[in-house]
Symmetry: C2
Subunit: 223 residues, 2 copies
């Protein structure tokens, strides 16, 4: 499959590398066609790896993965171009973290809105599926790094897009279907984006990013 | 121990009942000394159960448990009286949920502040420990309702108060020490209060409140 990875940071790098190793053609998108980090990634990932502007990457792709920082997400997708996104699935992994006031970061958008919703509103003809934003990228592409079952979430308005993304999560990265929780429409991204404040604190406590949330359930009470 | 339970709702009722059954003397506090829900609770819980105003309950207690709705928390604690709270541990179970705009609720305070912090700022000489606000009250007092290990969190500025509360959580309700995660100072309550948006969605999905978050960890990556 032809896939665009928008963003040249650790998340884009890790996701892109895993996808290339899985036999996909990946174009890493950035602001400029000659981005140095993207060039280094292409060099180390062989013939199925390429780079381009956000616009070129989105044009190339059947599926677009937003791996930009949350603050840069709308600009990056705007540069990618509505005409290149319409009708396509955007897998949104970004979080609206604001590090400008130091640690821990706050959220630039939360509570009654979310970055997932903002992206869906800005690109109404794209199919935004928010997922994987609740764990480190090392674990996104290799859930077995944490022993046993643990959960990721999907949020989105388009049922068939969410269904396709659940299959991608399984086929690309090894996530078991039963560990992927469909929370509902894109407004449920408020819930997963607001997991970040505790994620950041747990990371500070453990000094290890390899952890995740597992939802454990008991029998329903008799009413 | 003499314990004040502020609030006559399901949380206060469940916590108060468990504590009375554990041999503690519990005074349920509310706005008026003759609150009907508190009276019914006293009637069904015997000689160790009593009721009173917020002020009377706080005066009576060695430890105060805030089981009010988040929106009512500051008013209730103000009515309880600074002079009755100073130097005491306030176990804050409340969440700043706003149901006034329908479901799902939003948060009245979040991101760069939290209700736990607001309570600590308002009552600087009390020792606020935020905990148990991330699960249903049925599970707060009976962690075995969900099989296996799962986690709760404590947030607070006073290390000895957190240590005491961890012991209470074990002795009163059966929480294993290793399942209680000390996130840090009271600002970490932002993280646990912001778990509510996903909690509410998961509850809607499962139609069963008996679930919890378990933090699962893998080996740290080699750097």
């Amino acid at each position: 499959m032809n896939i665009a990875v928008l963003g040249t940071g650790m998340v884009g790098n890790t996701i892109g590398t895993k996808l290339v190793h899985g036999g996909h053609k990946v174009k890493m998108g950035s602001r400029t066609a000659a981005n140095e980090k993207a060039a280094a990634w292409v060099t180390s990932n062989g013939a199925n790896a390429s780079q381009g502007t956000f616009d070129e990457a989105a044009k190339f792709a059947e599926v677009v993965i937003n791996c930009t920082s949350g603050i840069g997400a709308i600009d990056a997708l705007t540069a990618a171009g509505k005409e290149n996104l319409n009708g396509k699935i955007i897998i949104d992994i970004s979080n609206p973290l604001d590090f400008s006031k130091g640690m821990p970061p706050s959220l630039t958008i939360c509570n009654t809105d979310s970055l997932g919703e903002l992206i869906q509103r800005t690109f109404p003809e794209a199919k935004v599926v928010k997922t994987l934003n609740t764990l480190t990228c090392l674990l996104m592409v290799n859930p077995l790094l944490v022993p046993g079952d643990h959960n990721i979430f999907v949020s989105g308005n388009d049922a068939s897009a969410k269904s396709a993304v659940k299959n991608y999560l399984h086929d690309w990265f090894g996530w078991k279907g039963e560990n992927i929780i469909d929370l509902g429409d894109i407004t449920t991204a408020r819930g997963t984006e607001q997991l970040l404040p505790i994620w950041v604190r747990l990371y500070g406590l453990f000094q290890n990013p390899i952890f995740n949330f597992k939802i454990v359930i008991g029998p329903a009470p008799k009413m």
